[in-house]
């Protein structure tokens, strides 16, 4: 199988997920990396260690990611090179342009893939219901597009591939224009610096209950953080959000209260030294990353903890 993996970079750094895509590509057949930008020699060199071939697509207009231009140049390359499988990272960038590219390639697409089996046709595995259930999807025709979840294909082989200048430029200017990147706002509390984090999710139910979590954090000597819905609802400020679109934390203790454990949240806390989760649903995916699990109502557990911590 001829596999093309589209690399990703931002702020001068190659996203390590690009290598994971190549790990998968090497399992499936001939691995081709594609890297798009203004000056991508550095990235091409890195990718060549894991790919049979690396295709460079360079142009001044490609300095910042633009989905229309990416699709334009990729279609030109794929028209000539005829891939069987196109791999793209399931990131803010990849998840944005991959479905559009799939339509233009007349290709099936499966997003957020965590497993691929090629023994009998191509079958891609992914989670549904925010991690509670898994599904194997049979892909009915080739070529196909897969967006791949970070961390699913960590093991791979080394190569020393050939770097090829594809000699491709965008065929027309894009309608969408890049303006700028905006830095995250700095808040008063830097949750990444705290040894103990009491994190609350939608299970905390109401703004009024945040004070309970704050009391518990104080008793434990830590700070309060939250999952995205808690921040979306305005119960905690944005700088307290843990996860892929918030902060990555690695405290000594991460106490997750009423958090289901969606992938986007887990990516922000999975490397904590000790993870304790309280959730009333025994099937909640958070119990897959926690070291200790408590299947209970948080409103029964928090007061007991407070009682005993204060009375100690």
């Amino acid at each position: 199988m001829k596999v093309f993996a589209v690399a990703e970079h931002r702020f001068g750094e190659l996203n390590p997920l690009s290598i994971e895509l190549l790990n998968l590509a090497n399992k499936l057949g001939e691995s081709n990396a594609v890297v798009i930008g203004k000056d991508v020699a550095k990235f091409a060199g890195e990718l060549a260690k894991y790919a049979d071939k690396v295709w460079k697509i360079e142009d001044a207009s490609l300095e910042n990611y633009n989905p229309e231009l990416y699709i334009d140049v990729l279609l030109q390359l794929f028209q000539k090179e005829k891939p069987d499988v196109v791999l793209i990272g399931n990131t803010a960038q990849g998840a944005e342009y991959a479905p559009y590219l799939a339509v233009k390639l007349n290709a099936p697409i499966v997003t957020d893939v965590v497993g691929v089996n090629a023994t009998n046709g191509l079958v891609a595995s992914r989670f549904v219901m925010q991690g509670k259930i898994m599904v194997d999807l049979k892909i009915k025709s080739m070529p196909c597009v897969l967006t791949v979840r970070q961390g699913a294909f960590k093991e791979g082989v080394q190569k020393s591939g050939k770097i090829i200048d594809a000699g491709i430029k965008p065929s027309k200017p894009a309608g969408r224009k890049f303006i700028e990147y905006i830095q995250p706002e700095a808040g008063e509390v830097d949750i990444t610096k705290s040894n103990i984090i009491v994190a609350v999710g939608r299970g905390i139910e109401d703004a009024a209950n945040i004070s309970l979590a704050e009391e518990l954090a104080k008793a434990l000597g830590g700070v309060v953080a939250g999952s995205r819905p808690v921040i979306d609802n305005g119960w905690l400020p944005k700088d307290r959000q843990v996860g892929i679109s918030g902060k990555v934390v690695k405290p000594k203790l991460y106490l997750a209260l009423g958090i289901s454990g969606a992938f986007q949240h887990v990516m922000g806390m999975k490397d904590s030294e000790l993870i304790v989760a309280v959730n009333k649903d025994p099937e909640a995916p958070i119990f897959g990353v926690a070291h200790y699990g408590i299947v209970a109502n948080i409103f029964d557990i928090i007061p007991e903890l407070l009682d005993k911590l204060k009375g100690k």
């Binding site: 339509v103 040894n195 299947v295």
Partner: protein, 247 residues
């Protein structure tokens, strides 16, 4: 400003869900269905723009969608299009039938949710953009309308955002938290009853993927701390003390 919003009727991911006997579909027994959370933000955003600039908000739903479409009308959308087609297994088909249903509408923007809370594909919006050849942006967290164009911020990793500008017509997928969606008022529900909810029957032409198997994921499980709440608290504090995490 005329805005089309896609709204999915979806089971709450907090509900008890399992795999049905056929090993290929979800068993949703007692699951509570409501408007997909991301779509709630999308509908709210469209209504706010209409309230400020005038125009029309049209909601489109595929599947058993009537309750969600009625809810959108009660929030303030002007009319709804329902496509009762149910058999689809892939997002391609959902996008395809929506494309067919709206092809004669003249619109300035289409809003979809960034992701559905049940299947989590994050595809339908962008597939539709491709089928209609529209400029697009995903994970949008703010919208500023100019003349013939729109400036948006979109969310990327690590708390960063990217500001981009798009010509209209265009398609945006909306990230949660962009606004504070309103609650439906009694007045709204009354008014909604008089609004148009049109049903159009369309079936997709092709299918691109099929479910081979559905199952519970194999996971490493946490060690459980059990007992009544007081015992649990005692055991947990002992563990934390043991590790020197608390004094």
């Amino acid at each position: 400003m005329k805005i089309i919003v896609l709204a999915k009727h979806a089971p709450d991911p907090q509900s008890e869900v399992g795999v049905a006997g056929d090993g290929k579909s979800l068993s949703l027994g007692t699951a509570v269905f409501d408007i997909n959370d991301w779509d709630r933000y999308a509908v709210e955003e469209a209504i706010r723009i209409k309230e400020k600039m005038g125009g029309e908000v049209v909601v489109v739903g595929v599947g058993k969608n009537e309750d969600t479409l009625r809810k959108c009308l009660a929030m303030g959308a002007d009319r709804a299009i329902k496509i009762p087609f149910e058999a689809g297994l892939d997002a391609y088909q959902t996008a395809e039938v929506i494309c067919e249903a709206i092809k004669n509408e003249k619109f300035d923007m289409i809003f979809a949710g960034l992701m559905s809370q049940d299947y989590n594909n994050s595809q339908v919006g962008v597939l539709l953009a491709a089928m209609l050849n529209l400029p697009f942006a995903t994970a949008v967290t703010s919208i500023e309308i100019g003349s013939g164009m729109v400036k948006v911020k979109r969310e990327i990793e690590g708390g960063y955002q990217e500001a981009v500008q798009l010509p209209m017509p265009c398609l945006l997928t909306i990230q949660s938290g962009i606004n504070e969606p309103r609650y439906v008022s009694i007045m709204g529900i009354k008014k909604a009853k008089t609004k148009e909810l049109k049903e159009v029957n369309i079936a997709p032409k092709k299918s691109t993927v099929e479910v081979a198997k559905m199952y519970l994921p194999p996971v490493k499980k946490a060690e459980l701390i059990t007992g009544d709440p007081s015992q649990i608290a005692k055991k947990l504090i002992a563990i934390l003390k043991d590790r020197g995490l608390i004094g």
